[in-house]
């Protein structure tokens, strides 16, 4: 099997100022052309992890572990700038908020031609560049792309703006696209359209995708494999198809059981008691132990197993629940 496109191994993210460890021992792989999901409730550390790994977060840094992209391992010294060099070229990023991630004073077309210039060196005013920009606008489903090229972001709705942000990322033809909660601010119908569009275009181009969301059901229906984060710890990596069917990690199971779904009745919903634990958990053992229905005393003291990326699936349970037989 070909080497994975992106490998995270034993990643620990800490705050620069206090050294507090926010996310510990995270490891997973993403293969070329794969759609990979990252799920976690708010405070689980998924955004902190992603932004630090891709050099976008100033107040945190990697204190342990390695990141390998396209067979090159990124250096620990000057990690953030090395990681950022990959952005806008080999890695595309669609951030959460379409309203603030577009420059309101710059025409949409210019923002795309700028991306083309930065990624491929195409001169910004050349007709070929303009054509490429219009083409990618059409590709993301913007009606009347020649007109849109000349317009400003505030003339578009939220869903359209998110498509434009996606277009900017697409234009750079990255090998990997990171989409961080790309549709949280959108209504249900627009959300479905944008997600399906994004995944369709990416699959077309053989692009790998990391789709980050707090919505387990959305990921379950959209991605190939997903990683589950809780309290800054990685608990599970599993195929999306296994969620809700085969036994998986207790937290994944509990999360799935507490979400209302199309075929569920009230009796099928089981709430998880207690309050969510945030990243920077700090204590020994499993972050989920306090709320887990299977928890034993061991769970609070033993170290959580780490993913050595030897197989595509992974379950981190002190008691060994959900591990493949």
């Amino acid at each position: 099997m070909a080497a994975p496109l992106l490998t995270l191994h034993n990643i620990t993210v800490a705050l620069r100022e206090t050294g507090r460890r926010m996310v510990t021992g995270v490891g997973f792989t993403v293969h070329a052309g794969e759609v990979f999901g990252l799920v976690g409730e708010s405070g689980s550390g998924k955004t902190l992890l992603t932004r630090t790994v891709f050099g976008l977060q100033d107040d945190t840094h990697l204190v342990d572990g390695t990141v390998t992209f396209n067979d090159k391992t990124l250096p620990r010294e000057g990690y953030a700038s090395a990681a950022r060099k990959l952005l806008g070229g080999q890695i595309g990023f669609v951030p959460q908020d379409p309203f603030s991630s577009l420059n309101p004073t710059m025409r949409v077309g210019t923002q795309i031609t700028e991306a083309l210039y930065l990624a491929k060196g195409m001169p910004m005013n050349a007709p070929a560049t303009r054509q490429a920009a219009i083409q990618v606008l059409a590709e993301v489903g913007i009606p009347e792309p020649e007109l849109a090229f000349r317009q400003f972001p505030d003339q578009f709705s939220g869903g359209m703006r998110q498509r434009i942000v996606f277009a900017i990322a697409l234009a750079q033809d990255p090998k990997l696209l990171i989409a961080d909660e790309p549709t949280t601010a959108l209504d249900a119908i627009t959300q479905r359209r944008v997600i399906e569009l994004m995944l369709d275009r990416c699959r077309n181009r053989g692009m790998a995708v990391i789709l980050i969301s707090h919505n387990l059901e959305l990921l379950r229906q959209s991605v190939d494999r997903l990683a589950v984060l809780y309290g800054g710890q990685l608990h599970n990596v599993a195929p999306a198809s296994s969620i809700g069917h085969e036994t998986s990690h207790p937290y994944t199971e509990a999360l799935f059981d507490c979400i209302p779904g199309k075929d569920k009745t009230l009796a099928d919903i089981r709430a998880i008691r207690g309050e969510p634990v945030g990243a920077g958990f700090g204590l020994k053992g499993c972050a989920f132990a306090a709320r887990c229905r299977y928890a034993e005393e061991r769970c609070r003291t033993a170290d959580l197993p780490l993913n050595d990326n030897s197989s595509t699936g992974f379950t981190a349970c002190v008691l060994g629940r959900g591990a493949p037989a």
């Binding site: 409730e41 405070g43 209504d187 479905r192 707090h214 209302p260 569920k264």
Partner: protein, 258 residues
């Protein structure tokens, strides 16, 4: 169950003047006909901008309407005397979406919960009130002694429980819930949902549940109204509407939801 519907909106409409523009669109509520019977859990399903919150505010009389009639328990609210308007507030209460903004940051939890009791049951002594507050806290799943603390010491889910306790303090028969789960963490939503289920069962509450989340509405609502751009586009039994929608918009919405 009394044959008298508790809430009846007949041909209600509201237009927004220049002052209230939402995302560059000024919109109106048009031709709202809505009925809620005692003991029912009625859902109002719609996206943001559909007007569902405005309907909630009209029903709780937090905002006025421009056309139509609103009958509460058979009486036209437009004819209410001052005393009846005040009495109304102990019969209908509201729980809002945002657990962080819906409690006075400068008042203790106990003070916020007791506020309604002080206003509507002034004959209660302080000791009786304190006892009521403790009972309410326990009823919503919080420790009875946490009343002396301030809202910022609690998590979002806990604050939402406090807001519910405050609404229940006046002993309402109708509880309007405007997206009560939407700002909560996924795993906490189920907890608060369970609390609602318990309260409906134990207090025989009538509930109007406003949400954009089809799956939640499907779980607890008997009937549902689907709203889109200020109008009701479909209504009926929740099980019917949400599995066999007649209206094109409803169908699109249901198909889109994960």
């Amino acid at each position: 169950m009394s044959s008298n519907p508790l809430v009846q909106l007949q041909g209600v409409a509201k237009s927004f003047g220049r002052r209230l523009l939402v995302q560059n669109r000024s919109f109106a509520l048009k031709d709202i006909n809505l009925t809620v019977n005692r003991g029912e859990v009625v859902g109002i399903l719609g996206e943001s901008g559909s007007g569902k919150s405005t309907v909630a505010n009209i029903i709780t009389r937090l905002t006025s309407y421009d056309e139509g009639r609103y009958l509460y328990d058979g009486h036209d609210v437009a004819g209410y005397l001052k005393s009846e308007s005040f009495g109304f507030k102990s019969r209908v209460q509201i729980v809002f979406q945002d657990p962080y903004g819906s409690l006075n940051p400068r008042a203790t939890v106990a003070a916020s919960i007791a506020e309604g009791i002080r206003l509507h049951q002034p004959q209660m002594s302080k000791a009786e009130r304190d006892q009521r507050v403790a009972q309410l806290l326990e009823e919503v799943g919080l420790p009875a002694d946490c009343g002396s603390r301030y809202p910022h010491e609690f998590s979002g889910g806990q604050r939402q429980r406090i807001a519910i306790a405050r609404a229940l303090a006046v002993g309402p028969e109708l509880l309007v819930c405007d997206e009560p789960l939407s700002s909560l963490d996924v795993s906490i939503q189920a907890q608060v949902l369970e609390l609602f289920v318990k309260l409906i069962r134990e207090r025989h509450l009538t509930i109007i549940f406003i949400s954009h989340d089809v799956n939640v509405v499907r779980l607890i609502c008997d009937r549902v109204y689907v709203m889109h751009e200020g109008r009701i586009v479909e209504e009926g039994k929740a099980t019917d509407v949400l599995s066999h929608p007649q209206n094109a918009y409803t169908a699109r919405l249901l198909a889109a939801v994960y």
